[in-house]
């Protein structure tokens, strides 16, 4: 499936590269900036708000939490009621971190 899917993508790009016209000029290959000449930092040389970084870090933390939760969810019915308290402890610990993040106003984007 993966082979076929990627193959279709590669095929499309190759076919288009063969069939499409190739008449490039300097002006045509300039990065788009609303019709102006590009100025200042371009692409990665620009600076971006640290918020994106924070969100990515939070995502890692919470995604790992999700990853831990999946096995528990699948095996849950065999482990009740003990597993309930385990899950509750886990979620409460996470909530402490979550509330900390809330209070630190990381999720405000103001």
């Amino acid at each position: 499936m993966l082979l076929v899917a990627v193959g279709i993508g590669v095929l499309a790009v190759i076919v288009s590269a063969i069939l499409g016209p190739k008449k490039s000029s300097r002006a045509k290959l300039m990065p788009y900036e609303s019709g102006n000449d590009p100025e200042g930092g371009v692409g990665t040389s620009q600076r971006f708000p640290v918020h994106f970084y924070l969100v990515a870090m939070l995502f890692i933390v919470f995604d790992i939490e999700t990853a831990f939760f999946y096995p528990l969810a699948v095996a849950y019915q065999k482990l009740v009621p003990f597993a309930f308290f385990e899950a509750l402890t886990f979620v409460l610990l996470l909530l402490v971190g979550y509330v900390y993040v809330l209070k630190k106003r990381v999720l405000e984007w103001a």
Binding site: M1, V13, S16, K28, Y70, A73, F84
Partner: protein
């Protein structure tokens, strides 16, 4: 020929069929979307190319193949080319795991390309690989607007991935498996999961709208704000591949919703009285359900305005995430204490419905979470920039 070779060939054939089917569906989906949007705005959609515009997708495809493929000067050539391929590859692959019928119902073969015990996990993993395609595409363009769009879209997609992953946990707890076939067969006997998990379904629906970048969450490609976001520097077939990936992701999300919450490839049992065996028609029911959700995607696009970026992130982190966790704990509580006490699944359904109704009743109050930003700690000085607006 040895057996394994035949099996491999059949799988390959099915993979090709699914991929081509998805591409055709994508092409006609664009047409259907334009026609439906037009009808919702009291006008006609494309109706010149072929009868009822039926050849429009073909014309679009041929046009995008014969267009010039530009690579701007500052672009990273290799990544710039690979990003759309990655996006479409992951999008197409994710769909292959959805079962379209019981085993052996496709002319003696199994109606899925691959069937994993961790099917749901694999599907979520593959769809989230799509983030790479979008982000790398934006980064490799070496230009401002694509970079901004890529940052925004990756932050948005990873945020809502959490909501998506957490909101299905309750369903998994009830069913006890991540294998799609087990999930569908469980719903055949116990009833559709939507009956017991309507709250989780609402969260999942919102998350998947955001996950596939559709309105009201289509900020990465908000035309009026940052041109076309990560697509700005893409032309010709590469642009079409990104577009294709988005629509295929929509179909995958619809199929996922149908499979997890709406009984997958099985129709409602009460129709059996009308025509015996109607609920067992394979594939047809799945297609009907996918079609319904795709219609919902289009309908919402024609109805709701876009979120602002901070509103979007606040909605994801402050509403969807805690509520999904709460839903999980609710199901956990039910399974641990109420079910052993002899209370049936109907109670779970009532609890879930109560959650949804409560949320809707409180909607005016919770809207404050994302509509009004909390006042900044240091009040901004009321000065206006010189030169006016």
């Amino acid at each position: 020929m040895p057996d394994w070779l035949i099996a491999a060939l059949i799988t390959l054939l099915k993979a090709v069929l699914v991929a081509l089917g998805l591409l055709t569906a994508f092409a006609y989906m664009t047409l259907v979307e334009r026609r439906l949007l037009a009808r919702m705005q009291i006008r006609w959609g494309p109706n010149r190319v072929g009868p009822m515009g039926l050849l429009q997708p073909l014309a679009d495809a041929i046009k995008s193949i014969f267009k010039e493929d530009l690579t701007v000067t500052l672009a990273d050539k290799l990544v710039y080319t690979l990003a759309p391929i990655l996006a479409i590859g992951m999008a197409l692959t994710a769909f292959g795991g959805i079962p379209a019928g019981p085993a052996g119902s496709l002319f003696g073969a199994d109606p899925w390309v691959y069937n994993l015990d961790a099917g749901l996990l694999a599907l979520l993993a593959l769809t989230s690989m799509g983030v790479y395609g979008i982000f790398l595409g934006g980064w490799a363009s070496g230009s401002k607007y694509p970079m901004l769009g890529a940052l925004r879209s990756s932050a948005q997609m990873i945020s809502y991935e959490l909501g998506m992953g957490l909101s299905v946990l309750g369903t998994l707890m009830l069913i006890g498996s991540t294998n799609f076939r087990v999930i569908v067969e469980w719903q055949r006997f116990e009833g559709w999961t939507i009956l017991f998990q309507v709250f989780a379904f609402a969260l999942f629906l919102i998350s998947s709208f955001a996950e596939v970048n559709r309105t009201p969450f289509d900020l990465p490609e908000a035309e009026q704000e940052i041109v076309a976001g990560y697509l700005t520097e893409y032309s010709a077939i590469k642009w079409a591949l990104f577009q294709m990936a988005e629509y295929v992701n929509m179909m995958t999300a619809s199929a996922l919703m149908a499979t997890l919450f709406f009984g997958g490839y099985r129709g409602p049992v009460f129709l059996e009285g009308l025509i015996p065996g109607i609920s067992g028609w394979p594939i047809i029911w799945l297609v009907v359900k996918i079609g319904f959700f795709l219609f919902l995607f289009i309908w919402v696009r024609a109805t709701l305005p876009r979120f602002r970026y901070d509103q979007l992130m606040r909605l994801g982190w402050k509403l969807i995430l805690p509520l999904a966790l709460a839903n999980t704990m609710l199901v956990a509580f039910y399974l641990a204490f109420l079910k052993p006490a002899g209370l049936g699944l109907w109670l779970m359904g009532l609890l879930s419905l109560a959650g949804l109704v409560g949320l809707l009743l409180l909607s005016d109050r919770v809207r404050g979470l994302w509509s009004a930003p909390a006042a900044p700690k240091v009040p901004a000085k009321a000065t206006r920039p010189v030169g006016g607006d």
